[in-house]
């Protein structure tokens, strides 16, 4: 706070006046620098409505350094005149016996503050000669405020431990807070929005009684990724253009051979009530290692394991993990993304049950209007695309895929006849992009994300 004494002097000065006063006049009366008065005014303003101060600006003329020299020593012309000795007067000089130094006179007037005595033309003339300059001064027009008083009670910025201990807070006045300003952001770390959404999906599956599958194996054999799912070896998904194959380690080993033989048979000859695909099934194709194209490869391993345990017990499985596609990249497709998958295996499950489970699942995401479109998938029959009604777009949009695993997939594994396995899947990225209003997937996933987006992203509640 500026000098309290000065502030009080300003108040005293103001008390005597009925109207108001310019802060410059106060400065000249109190013989202090104008800037000190400005400081005092500002500190008085912060104390509430003690005074009112209206900012204004005024212009006045000041002498330049050269101008000041002329006031002291006379104008250059006069100085020349005075320098000529009396003896050396020539004839012409007789014509002027004395001179009047008008430049000096005018500058003296300005120095005295009597600028008004000069007309504009004279002032501009002197300005051109760089003897005068026009200066703009910012000052305040001061008047008494609604709660004017000549005494200053110092306002405290904030409560201190000392005040609480001594009780002095009772007699203090506190500066008002500016509630318009934002607070100081806390120093903290942040979770990635895609991972926040993953946590929510995990939570939903757990609430629904689903057990998490071990999907921590990005590398998979073609056998588990395709063949076990009754996906024929000439299927386009098994093309180099769609799937990342490995050169090292290039092939998988240690297949359960009796199961592999059953898979080979159902592809090439049929069986289990199926015509099969009737082609020459090759072990070399099945051995090829790849980056898994879907987590369903893990579901296949889990169902095979389930079938090996002897007595069948119903299961509900889920997973959310990375899958890889050697696809053309664009604003919504990357070479890797997260697949969400749910699987239920039990005796007598129906297509109606699948739609019922999907209804429950999507209700937890805040999506209640669902409809199902027949679709094709090599390992499910029936296969259904799941559509939800988008209130914003006013149309049905695809939100996932689902189906009942084919007998040609389940029976060779040893899953008992009569057991149906229903499953569905969707990507994690798409709902996240919708949730957080992100149009380009690269702004969400990968190293090119803007961390500010991560810092600023709200918590994720999928149902609100």
């Amino acid at each position: 706070m500026a000098d309290a004494g000065l502030a009080e002097s300003v108040l005293e000065r103001l008390e005597k006046l009925d109207c108001g006063v310019d802060s410059q006049d106060v400065a000249s009366v109190l013989s202090v620098d104008h800037q000190a008065i400005v400081g005092a005014v500002k500190s008085l303003q912060s104390l509430g409505e003690l005074i009112s101060a209206e900012q204004r600006s005024s212009k006045h003329w000041e002498l330049t350094a050269e101008g000041k020299e002329i006031v002291e020593q006379g104008s250059h012309e006069a100085r020349v005149f005075n320098a000529i000795p009396t003896e050396g007067l020539s004839q012409t000089d007789l014509m002027v016996e004395s001179i009047e130094d008008t430049v000096q006179d005018k500058l003296v007037q300005v120095q005295k503050g009597l600028t008004g005595k000069l007309d504009e033309k004279e002032k501009n003339e002197l300005k051109k000669r760089k003897l005068l300059s026009e200066v703009t001064v910012k000052s305040y027009w001061l008047t008494k405020g609604p709660s004017f008083s000549t005494t200053v009670t110092k306002q405290e910025t904030d409560l201190t431990a000392e005040m609480i201990a001594s009780g002095t807070w009772r007699d203090k006045k506190f500066k008002p807070y500016n509630f318009e300003a934002l607070g100081v952001p806390p120093e903290c770390g942040h979770l990635h929005p895609l991972m926040k959404v993953r946590t929510q999906f995990r939570q939903i599956f757990l609430e629904m009684g689903f057990t998490e599958m071990p999907t921590n194996n990005f590398i998979e054999s073609s056998f588990w990724n395709f063949d076990s799912l009754f996906q024929p070896q000439q299927h386009p998904a098994r093309d180099q253009h769609d799937t990342f194959f490995l050169s090292d380690p290039a092939v998988a080993k240690d297949f359960p051979m009796d199961y592999l033989e059953r898979v080979k048979k159902v592809h090439s000859e049929g069986g289990y009530g199926s015509q099969g695909y009737k082609y020459d099934w090759k072990l070399e194709e099945a051995q090829k290692n790849l980056l898994r194209t879907h987590t369903t490869a893990v579901s296949a391993r889990m169902l095979y394991k389930l079938a090996q345990q002897g007595k069948f017990t119903p299961v509900k499985y889920f997973s959310i993990d990375r899958v890889f596609r050697n696809e053309t990249l664009d604003a919504t497709h990357l070479a890797e993304f997260h697949q969400i998958e749910g699987v239920v295996a039990d005796y007598g499950l129906t297509l109606g049950d699948l739609m019922g489970v999907l209804h429950q699942f999507f209700t937890k995401l805040g999506i209640t209007k669902l409809r199902f479109k027949p679709a094709y998938n090599p390992y499910t029959e029936p296969s259904m695309e799941v559509f939800s009604y988008h209130e914003g777009l006013k149309k049905w949009v695809e939100v996932g895929n689902s189906g009942v695993f084919r007998p040609e997939m389940l029976l060779p594994m040893g899953i008992p006849e009569g057991v149906s396995v229903i499953a569905w899947g969707l990507s994690l990225e798409r709902p996240t992009m919708i949730k957080y209003g992100i149009n380009n997937i690269r702004e969400l996933v990968g190293h090119k994300v803007n961390l500010q987006m991560v810092y600023d992203s709200p918590i994720c509640r999928l149902d609100s």
Binding site: E187, D346, T350, L351, D353, R371
Partner: protein, 589 residues
């Protein structure tokens, strides 16, 4: 999913009804199709080449319809209309018949031994007295193209050739010859060329160049001659110009050569079932006798009908409905699967026509019943399956640690599992041959050469992309890396890692060290030489000499931490000092 483009007005004319776009969209949805786009030739040209080029192009409305990948019978206007008309019960599904030649002597198609190593299979058929119009002709050509792109796997499995039978004379010989010994005038060319010259010519053909690789490196190319030595085609590349079909063609000879006989039969069946509609005797196809190298003969097209028995109860139980066998039979008939109750309990006899090669199991029949019933008319029920949920322990630990790391002031990054060799080797001052990285054989770009062996490069690239943000930057990621491992069936395994970086004007080793101590505290591992963890000086090309330590927990090395080497910082286009922590969290399960 293949997309079929049909003229709207032509479609509605054939369906005998005008639909609004919405109504037709709805019909598609019910039938498992998707009205993907409503456009016109003019729109398409204008979008691809600009308005100027589009001027004068047809503005006839086109429907682009997505068809399920296994429904080859819906890949042309004829098939779509037939399928929808039967579904809407406007017509009955036609019965497709193979008939003998009028003179009793079928065309003969002889396969020689030379084809065995290349494309050993062939099938053929004749469409007799067909009447083409411009639209029918266009559709005929378009269906071949759709089949080539889909079931034929870009001609590698099956290639179709169609010929004006009146310009050639049987018997036909399918053989293989050295490229220089093959000479003919190919479709739409003026000169005769040898096969060698043709392959060179087609290198620059935007369409054909995609098929050259199928035979290019073979010493012999497949070739089909008529009895006068006229070349019908050189499959799977090009037909001869001599036998090309036109609007005036009355008798069409269709041959399919293949590496997969099952698919060849399906493709031929599709071609003839779709277009025999326009023959003088609709839905009849004249047989061709195919003679195999061993002298055995087969008559084609196959046009096999198969019968399956299924109980109504099975369908009801799988779908979750309660329909009578009669009603289910009616539903199936609407899907081109002619069905009748046999009278034995609720048994239904279903006849699968040659057009429905997708029906290979009772579950496919069940699905068709459900589709005809309407998926959205099925009551949605809650299964009674009772199970207790379990989290995967590794994921549970990861989830808990993620929250704690964020609470410790670090921000979560999410980086790619695939990267370039450079990222995990050169940039870290290491040799790729020393790494345990798995290598991808067919990456389209360098970004997908290997699976990451460490999370660090991803975090450093994230820092580089965010250099404009205020310092310090504190990042972490808990995710999987992939390492070669002989003990697993695929020869590799994932490894869950925790990686964190601190990027500031000062290296901040103490910050990253403090984070390690905090993580160990959370994992309830005490600082101790024997029964806990400690760090000891180590050296690694990633870190600045003397500023790197190995983390030992219960006697085993579980990770490292340190101040990054300035070379590493530079190679990742960073400018400030940086310290990092890399920890294997699997030992703490």
């Amino acid at each position: 999913m293949p997309t079929v483009s049909v003229k709207r007005d032509l479609l509605f004319q054939a369906l005998g009804k005008k639909y609004t776009d919405e109504e037709f969209d709805e019909l598609c949805f019910e039938f498992g199709l998707e009205l993907d786009e409503i456009t016109s030739e003019k729109d398409i040209i204008s979008r691809e080449q600009g308005d100027v080029r589009a001027a004068g192009a047809s503005d006839v409305v086109l429907y682009k319809i997505d068809v399920p990948a296994n429904r080859y019978d819906l890949l042309c206007l004829e098939g779509l209309v037939r399928g929808l008309q039967v579904f809407k019960q406007k017509i009955e599904a036609p019965y497709y018949r193979r008939v003998g030649a009028t003179d009793g002597k079928p065309q003969r198609f002889i396969i020689t031994q030379e084809t065995a190593v290349l494309r050993p299979h062939a099938v053929a058929a004749v469409l007799r007295n067909i009447t083409f119009t411009q639209e029918r002709y266009d559709s005929f050509i378009e269906l071949q193209e759709k089949l080539h792109q889909n079931i034929c796997r870009k001609r590698s499995l099956v290639a179709i050739g169609t010929h004006d039978l009146d310009t050639i004379s049987g018997p036909f010989t399918y053989t293989a010859k050295a490229p220089d010994d093959i000479c003919f005038k190919p479709l739409n060319q003026k000169e005769e060329s040898t096969a060698t010259e043709l392959m060179r010519l087609y290198k620059n053909d935007s369409h054909l160049r995609h098929y050259l690789h199928i035979i290019e490196d073979e010493p012999h190319y497949p070739i089909i001659y008529d009895s006068n030595g006229v070349v019908l085609s050189m499959p799977p590349i090009i037909n001869g110009d001599h036998s090309k079909i036109s609007l005036k063609t009355k008798n069409v000879f269709i041959e399919c050569t293949a590496t997969d006989l099952t698919k060849a039969k399906i493709v031929l069946d599709m071609m003839v079932t779709m277009f025999s509609e326009y023959c003088a005797k609709p839905f009849t196809v004249e047989e061709v006798e195919v003679v195999c190298p061993d002298g055995s003969t087969c008559l084609y097209p196959d046009l096999a009908y198969r019968k399956e028995l299924i109980s109504g109860d099975t369908i009801n139980q799988k779908v979750g409905i309660k329909e009578s066998a009669e009603s289910l039979a009616r539903l199936l008939t609407r899907m081109c699967l002619k069905a009748e109750v046999t009278g034995k309990a609720d048994e239904i006899e279903v006849e699968i026509p040659p057009t429905r090669s997708d029906v290979i199991h009772a579950c496919d029949i069940m699905e068709d019943a459900a589709m005809a019933y309407g998926f959205n008319n099925i009551a949605r029920t809650k299964p009674k399956t009772y199970t207790i949920a379990n989290q995967l322990p590794l994921n549970k630990l990861s989830e808990l640690l993620r929250l704690e790391l964020a609470a410790a002031g670090f921000t979560e990054a999410l980086t790619f599992a695939l990267c370039s060799q450079e990222d995990i080797a050169d940039k870290l001052g290491k040799k790729i041959s020393d790494s345990r990285a798995v290598h991808i054989s067919n990456p389209k770009t360098a970004e997908f050469q290997v699976a990451r062996t460490t999370l660090l490069p991803g975090l450093l690239k994230t820092l580089a992309a965010n250099r404009k943000l205020p310092l310090p930057l504190k990042l972490f990621e808990i995710s999987d890396v992939v390492l070669k491992d002989d003990t697993t069936d695929v020869g590799a395994r994932n490894n869950r890692r925790l990686c964190a970086v601190f990027y500031n004007k000062i290296p901040g080793f103490e910050v990253i060290h403090g984070l390690l101590d905090r993580v160990m505290q959370l994992l309830d591992v005490k600082p101790s030489r024997d029964q806990g963890y400690y760090i000891q000086a180590a050296s690694d090309s990633i870190f600045f000499p003397g500023r790197c330590a190995e983390i030992i927990s219960h006697g085993k090395s579980v990770g490292c931490l340190g101040v990054l080497h300035p070379d590493v910082i530079n190679r990742f286009e960073l400018t400030m000092p940086c310290s990092a922590l890399d920890l294997d969290i699997e030992p703490f399960l």
